[in-house]
C-alpha cells in the first residue's frame, strides 16, 4: 500500500507541476502549484517526515501561495502584455534550463542512482520527528538557523522601508 501511495503522490506531483506551466490562467496555475505542494507533503508523510510534511502545507500551501493568489487577483493578470521578443528570450532560457535539468537527470540515471526503500527506518525511532529536528536545528545547524532569521529580519526591514518611501510623497501631496 505504501509503494502504491508513493506512486500515486508522485504521479500527482509531476502532473500538477506540469500543469502549473502549461495552464494559461495564472490563478489556475497557482492552484495547481498548491496541489503539487500538497502531494509533496504526502510524500514527506510516506517518508515518515510528518513534521516536514505538515510544515510544507502550513508554510507553502497555506501562507505563501495564498499571498501569491492575493497578488495575482489584485493585479488581475489576465493578458500577456509582453512583446514577441521578450517571449522568445524567455523561451530560449527555458529550453536551456530544461536541457540542463534533463542532462542532470540522465547523468544521475547513468551513475546508477536508483530510489532506495520507499520508507527507510527513521534515524531516531524513540523520539518524535519534531524533537529530532529541534535538536539538530538548535545544535549542529544553529549558525545557519540564526543567519536565516537575520535574513528574514533584513527582508522585513526592507519591505517597511519600501512601503514608507512610497507613501511619503502621497502624504505631502495630500497636505
Amino acid at each position: 500500500m505504501v509503494p502504491g501511495l508513493f506512486v500515486g503522490f508522485g504521479v500527482l506531483l509531476v502532473a500538477t507541476a506540469v500543469m502549473v506551466i502549461l495552464h494559461r490562467n495564472p490563478v489556475t496555475s497557482a492552484l495547481f502549484l498548491v496541489l503539487s505542494f500538497c502531494s509533496l507533503a504526502g510524500i514527506y508523510l510516506l517518508l515518515q517526515a510528518e513534521f516536514l510534511g505538515m510544515v510544507q502545507i502550513i508554510v507553502y500551501a497555506g501562507a505563501i501561495m495564498v499571498l501569491f493568489l492575493f497578488v495575482i487577483m489584485y493585479l488581475n493578470l489576465q493578458h500577456d502584455v509582453e512583446t514577441g521578443a521578450q517571449i522568445a528570450v524567455r523561451r530560449g532560457i527555458g529550453w536551456m534550463v530544461g536541457a540542463l535539468l534533463l542532462l542532470f537527470g540522465a547523468l544521475l540515471v547513468h551513475r546508477g542512482w536508483a530510489p532506495g526503500p520507499v520508507t527507510p527506518a527513521p534515524a531516531e525511532p524513540a523520539v518524535g520527528n519534531a524533537v529530532a529536528i529541534g535538536r539538530v536545528l538548535y545544535s549542529r545547524f544553529l549558525f545557519p538557523f540564526e543567519i536565516t532569521s537575520v535574513l528574514l529580519l533584513v527582508a522585513m526591514v526592507g519591505a517597511i522601508v519600501l512601503a514608507k518611501s512610497r507613501t511619503a510623497p502621497n502624504d505631502s501631496e495630500a497636505a
Binding site: 500500500m1 507533503a41 502550513i58 501562507a63 495564498v66 493568489l69 492575493f70 487577483m73
Partner: protein, 347 residues
Amino acid sequence: MNALMDNQVFQVALWAAVKLVIILGIMLGVVTYLIYAERKICGHIQHRTGPNRVGPLGLLQTPLDVVKLLVKEEFTPAGANKILFHVAPILAAFPAIATFSVIPMGPPPTFVVTDINVGILLFLAMSSLGVYAIVLGGWSSNNKYALLGGLRSSAQMISYELAMGLSIIPVLMRSGTMSLVGIVEHQAGTYRPFESLPIALPNWGIFHWYLWLPFVIFLITMFAETNRAPFDLPEAEGELVAGFHTEYSSMKWAMFFLGEYMNMIVISSICVTLFFGGYLGPGPASLGLLWYLVKLFALLFFFIWVRWTFPRLRYDQLMNFGWKVLLPGAIANIVIATAWLWWRANA
C-alpha cells in the same frame, strides 16, 4: 483481496475511513441543529421566540430549509470561472472534516480516528487551507463585492493564523508533545495552585495562569478564523452585499454555510482539547465522550452568544488589533511562559 485485508496499513486506513464516514454523518446532523440553536438563541437574545412554526418547537425548520436549498435553482454568473466556482464550496467543508481525524472525542483508541504525533500541526495546516474556499469563491464569481470579500478574508485569516499558532506554543511547551491525545492526557489529575490552601482544581490548561493569555488570544482568533461576528468582514452586508458568497445560490451556498458551522465545531474541539482537558472529567473513563460534548456545546453556545452581542469591527481596526495587539501579546506570553516553566523546572 485477502492479502490486502491482512495488510496492517490497509486495516488502519480502512478503520480511519469508516470512523470518518460516521463522524461526517453525525456532523451533518449536529450542524443542522446548530443552525436551529443559533436561530433560537438569536431570537431569545433579541427578545423574540425564533423559529417555532415547522414541527414541534420549530424543530423541523432547518431540515426543511435544507430540502428547500436542495431543490432550489442553481445559478452561475455569466462571467464566472466555471470550474473554480464549483470547486470552492467543496473546499469549504473539506478542511474541517480532515481535521476531525485527529481530534480526541473520547478515550483512545475508540473515539479517536488517528493519533499522530503532529496532530496540532495538522489542524494548523488545514485551517490555513480553509482560506482557499473563500478566496476562490470570491474570485471565481466575477463580482467586485465577492472579490473584495475574498481578498479581505485572505488578509484576515493569514493575519490571525499567526497569532493563533503562537498562542498554541505555551500549551505545547507545557505538555511537551504535539499529539492531541498526548496534550489531553497531560492534563489528567488535579492541580493545587496554592500548596497551603486545600483547593484542588483539575489539571486543565485553563487553570494555569501562564495559559490565560494564550486562551484569550486563541478564543479571539477562533472567531476570526471561522469568519464569525465580530470578525465577519468577508461577508459584511452593509458594504459588500453578502461578500464572497454573493453569487452563490442553492446547495452551493449551503456548502459554504456547512463549512462555516463545521469549522466552528472543529475549532471549538481544538480549544476544548488544548485548554479544557478534552474528554477528561469526573467519573469513569467511559464518560469521556459525554464530557467532551458538554464542553464542546458550552463553547458553541459562547460562539453564538458573541455573534448576537458584539458589533462588527471596522477593517482597519481588525488589522491593527491582529498585528499590533494579538501578535505581540502572543510572543510576549511565549517568553513569559518559557521563563516560568524553566524556573519551575530548575528552582
